[in-house]
Point group: C2
Chain length 273, copies 2
């Protein structure tokens, strides 16, 4: 099926999901929309997040997408169920894939989750884990310093190591064997987080897992792309084009970077005309 | 949804998939049917495998299952597509989940696959991998000694190590970073295979991955079980009850073993009466 997979995010965090989609599903075309102008969604009310998310979804529906990936934890927590009920295309969020992967990996049913304050406060991961497996123990921790650090490009090295070590210290005493990176920015810190947690802990990237499950869902719905035409992906931002391009360059490596066009999005245009 | 997940296999190999389903989806009830009397399916013709598989499926459909897991590589290779087209419940096989997991894990696009001679000859894993990702290099190898060794209970120790080492030696010169265990018996040898391949190779259990994707599909189709009633699983064999019980005991540990009833199945009974 030639139609694209739509990906929405509050800004640039979802680019790690897009990168994994390109890597794991190289035949599929993506149309990504990041609402950088109104990022972050974390501190906003449920009503506002729903309104903004539907604006992003409407923009992508106009482009005839075959599936929707909600690559933002806050938007997933507040809108996934509604989107799944109201849209007639498959919709996946970033929370459930990370939860299911963690249940697969854990051997002692002790799972840690780190994320933004909003995501941890929403208890979305805890609820997702417990809905599948009642005897999972969840240790959830907000790491408010990680997103600003990633956005400054501090991913490895002494400074990153120090911040990650001190942030994760409340988790070090537990018996968890699996840690979910419950924020789409965190995969960029995966190596540093793995170093700090030690090899006995499996670190789960919800971006990798969401791409993996997108692959499953395309197969189950029989809408996977066949043929070998190399796709040209369309990326849109509601915010500053130059900043978005710089961050995209830092996340996508060749050959993926060559396959992406980045433009400014005008939301609600179709309604106005 | 209170209905059970149906699991079919040519014999006892699928019990590793059943174990993973119990572990990862502890609220779900399973009805398992192993065609031990006519095992193995590997050397049989496509026509015969299809006929036998439909007999297993009909037995489970009578029990009103909500989803079907084909926990046998041969049956998956020959019948998955037909089952998905003809049944109005979701159907998953054991090949695609392992392939998708390998694509997620690999970093150099070099993937190894081991399985029975029939599975390797069918090239089912190679086709599944290449349909998603054209530039994956696949190194496939039949390991005919592994199933008899597992069925004799030789899983670790010097003898197991020697057989695994000599069987896998053709793979040791390649650059693969990911190895798919493309046979449902092989997860019982996972530790020995991991020791032989070394830590730099990710070893993928298609049983673990099939259970993980079953979880995804239950969620997507909104047929996941809610509530906390502990299920009693029904297991059936077409062959010798005592042998089946012995093997089930060696695969399931407590508390899972306490949750299983095992009975002899009479195929085609409903048609006869």
């Amino acid at each position: 099926m030639e139609q694209a997979i739509g990906v929405i995010d509050s800004g640039v965090g979802g680019l790690t999901v897009a990168y994994e989609l390109m890597r794991q599903l190289p035949k599929e075309k993506l149309i990504y929309l990041g609402d950088t102008a109104r990022c972050p969604y974390g501190p906003r009310s449920e009503e506002e997040v729903k309104k903004f998310t539907w604006e992003l979804v409407d923009f992508l529906l106009e482009k005839n997408i075959k599936m929707l990936v909600v690559a933002c934890n806050t938007a997933t927590a507040f809108t996934l169920q509604e989107l799944q009920e109201k849209l007639d295309i498959p919709v996946i969020g970033v929370i459930q894939p990370g939860a299911r992967a963690a249940i697969k990996f854990t051997r002692n049913n002790n799972i840690g989750v780190i994320g933004t304050e909003g995501t941890i406060r929403s208890e979305a991961y805890t609820k997702a884990l417990e809905s599948i497996h009642s005897s999972i123990k969840v240790n959830a921790l907000a790491c408010p310093l990680f997103v600003p650090m990633v956005e400054q490009g501090i991913l490895t090295g002494k400074k990153a190591q120090e911040v990650v070590e001190s942030s994760l210290s409340p988790l070090m005493e537990g018996e968890m064997d699996t840690l979910i990176l419950g924020c789409t920015h965190y995969p960029l810190l995966k190596q540093t987080i793995q170093n700090v947690m030690g090899e006995q802990v499996t670190v789960i990237s919800s971006s990798e897992e969401t791409a993996r499950e997108t692959s499953t869902i395309l197969d189950v719905h029989k809408i996977i792309k066949t043929g070998d035409v190399i796709p040209v992906h369309e990326f849109y931002t509601t915010g500053e084009l130059e900043i978005f391009i710089e961050i995209a360059k830092s996340i996508f490596k060749d050959p993926y970077l060559q396959m992406v066009t980045i433009k400014k999005a005008q939301l609600g245009q179709t309604q106005k005309t």
